[in-house]
Symmetry: C2
Subunit: 117 residues, 2 copies
């Protein structure tokens, strides 16, 4: 995996997993790869993976069975809510950035349309 050097890797790992979960690539109740597997996959240290997973555990999106592995939560309401939050966050950042660059809300649509072609 290619990491941006401006953002802590453990945060990028969280984002990577979050996205796999909310898109259903990792399904509710499904076991995710072990910390050691992920560490190899992502060419990163075990501790760095651990840090990401530990936080996602606190956030409730994962649960840990010690000795077995980490699993995606089965709380589909939480998953749906999380997905909406992630999308809203992105919308927020985007609109804010465009405004800061002098692009009004009205103009955003046109610029986006042009961009998507």
């Amino acid at each position: 995996m290619e990491f941006k050097d401006n953002i802590p890797i453990y945060l990028q790992i969280k984002q990577y997993l979050y996205r796999q979960i909310v898109t259903g690539e990792l399904k509710p109740g499904q076991k995710i790869p072990s910390v050691r597997e992920l560490a190899v996959q992502l060419t990163v240290n075990v501790n760095t993976v651990q840090r990401a997973l530990q936080q996602m555990n606190v956030e409730g999106i994962l649960y840990t069975k010690r000795g077995e592995g980490n699993f995606v939560t089965e709380d589909t309401d939480l998953l749906e809510k999380t997905k909406q939050e992630l999308i809203d966050d992105e919308l927020n950042k985007f609109v804010q950035s465009m405004n800061d660059l002098g692009v009004s809300n009205d103009q955003i649509h046109d610029i986006l349309s042009a961009y998507l072609k």
Copy 2:
């Protein structure tokens, strides 16, 4: 200024100044506040400001007159090009993020419209 703790402050300062420049709040040829002024304004160390300005200097968006201060470039072509690049970068990030979250290009418009109301 409120800084996000995940992104280096000098990068946020760069972004802050870039945006003031491309929106014309700071005009071509205009002197920007001194490193010491900015440091006080942003409640940040002089060295941190210096680091941001030094990079913007390399990038050509600012030029330095030693003993006088830093000035916005008068190369309006570069300014226009820079603005376009910043906008395109934001569009890129946004569309990429939405795709990663399972939102297709077709859906983006609707979601954006809903959000802007």
